[in-house]
Symmetry: C2
Subunit: 343 residues, 2 copies
């Protein structure tokens, strides 16, 4: 039984039937009951595309939600999702979210695409030479990469922040203030953005004839506990650094706590620059000593990726891959100051 036949049977327009089945208020209750009864008796199953047509609903964006029982919920993921929603809501797009363990992400993509429940999707948490990019290219559904993947040709559509440039600039500022021993509280080592931020730090140090001490580097999930533990270990180790770069304001929250405990005054005894994703909960200007940051809005990135995906989906034709690299802004506040003299 097709919508057309049901329409003929009931003497109602296809739009009315779709709306009745979708419970839209424009259809009165008697008609709705009549349609429901007929649909049940004839075994009519509404066709998704027809429904969308009738209701004006457009489509869906797929995303993989990395998860694990021992994992914390991730503010960064939530903020990006809020940006996607900003883009989706006015175009009547919705999301199909597949929770997946890291090792099952390729399978999750295959499932998302194969289920025909999404019209496009994005990839995030990119690794070096990430195999998901070749997979996505082979699947012929619009996709955008959030981030990039070191070691692969950049012939895929992406939106990334210039992570290397951001931490290069941040390091130059610290070098100009006289710092030479700079620590790094970074995101997970296998992620592309973390690798590029480390590279920015290393390149700037190398230009100044200095080097990164491996003992002053921590890679972890970007929670405040991790920032606290990493900073505490580094502070109690040899050759204490005079400054630290944090890959997130969340890591900085913990790092500042460790400094307070050690009796160090931020901006005087120790300088800190954090990357600021503009998480609404953790504004760098709200820290007791406001934080100097490299700033780039994660929500704006989510919104932009949503808009690009929707444009690709609606045009319904392959686009030349568009590459966008956003510059992070260096914002000076009180957490940076001249390097203290060696004791």
């Amino acid at each position: 039984m097709k919508l057309k036949e049901l329409s003929a049977l009931l003497g109602l327009s296809q739009t009315t039937i779709s709306r009745a089945l979708n419970g839209y208020p424009e259809v009165n209750e008697d008609t709705r009951q009549r349609v429901l009864k007929a649909a049940e008796e004839t075994g009519y199953k509404p066709n998704k595309a027809a429904q969308r047509l009738a209701t004006g609903k457009a489509g869906s964006i797929g995303l993989i939600m990395p998860t694990a029982p021992e994992h914390s919920s991730d503010m960064h993921f939530a903020e990006f999702q809020a940006g996607l929603a900003d883009a989706a809501i006015n175009r009547d797009f919705h999301f199909v979210i597949m929770p997946a363990h890291r090792e099952n992400e390729e399978q999750a993509i295959r499932w998302l695409v194969g289920s025909s429940s999404v019209d496009g999707y994005y990839l995030a948490y990119m690794k070096a030479a990430d195999p998901r990019i070749a997979l996505a290219k082979s699947l012929r559904l619009p996709f955008v990469v959030h981030g990039r993947s070191i070691g692969l040709d950049e012939d895929y559509p992406y939106l990334d922040v210039d992570n290397e440039g951001a931490f290069f600039n941040a390091t130059q500022l610290l070098l100009q203030l006289g710092h030479r021993r700079i620590a790094l509280l970074n995101g997970p080592a296998e992620l592309d953005f973390a690798a590029r931020r480390k590279l920015g730090l290393e390149k700037a140090l190398a230009q100044a004839g200095a080097a990164l001490d491996p003992l002053h580097v921590r890679h972890s999930f970007m929670g405040d506990e991790q920032g606290y533990r990493g900073m505490r270990e580094i502070l109690s180790g040899p050759d204490r650094p005079t400054a630290v770069l944090c890959a997130s304001t969340v890591l900085a929250l913990g790092a500042v706590r460790a400094m307070n405990e050690a009796g160090l005054k931020l901006g005087r005894d120790m300088s800190l620059i954090a990357h600021d994703d503009e998480l609404p909960l953790l504004k760098p200007e709200n820290f007791l000593t406001p934080l100097t940051t490299t700033r780039s809005s994660l929500r704006a990135a989510g919104k932009r990726i949503g808009e690009r995906l929707i444009a690709m989906i609606n045009r319904d034709s392959p686009e030349p891959p568009m590459q966008e690299l956003w510059k992070a802004e260096l914002v000076l506040r009180a957490s940076t100051g001249p390097a203290p003299r060696d004791r």
Copy 2:
């Protein structure tokens, strides 16, 4: 063209065809190309249920994501979602998320259910006499309410925290410590949980012959800015309170900042009890003065609701509505102390 006919046409099993269309690695590339070509030529559209059968994927949970351009991303929503993912991941469930403005939530539910893209869903951010409950009951798809709705019979399936009991207990602790003027930084006034927390405070005060001063109450989105502004206003107003209840540790973060600025020492000049959803980013024990809290894990609630939904969906039959009311735990830390003498 049905899967069966395509199977006969190609001389391949239905499982192989489904797997080929889903891009599963078990099927070799030649076969996959053959299937894709035949599917294209014959106009075959894979049936979702058949796909699920072939891939072992089970089903989907729908949720509404409240959003607005001016809104912040919500940690509480993210943490609940992480719990849902804990439940979903082992059962191969995924989510269909509909971003919606508050005023369009009923329409969003109708759409979710009508699209046949979800097998069950949950409702959250409940209001008094919330019309979504009657709507959900009429739609005959499994649902669970997170929270409750004051003013309606409790004949629907829900999971709620005993919000009234939590703030009643918290207030009794403050009363025993000698506090009589207690402020309240609460969630949005229209939400059920906020109404119940306020009720708990009012009832405990009334029993002690005291009353809540309307000038000492703030209702807002639960961000740290809101907590800061609310506390600052209350501190600069008349009849300064000696204690405050915060509906979230996020509000408390801002409230503590306002106290610091006013030169008040937490736990001595001013007592504070916050509701702790166990947000991994904001642990009450990590505040400079650790916070006394009423504690109930939002992630555990998300997981439990996910499990209940999946059980309801898999049994594929209506359940007697199950009601669960979780007690929050009162956890004493350093932010509560005896009321200071009146100056």
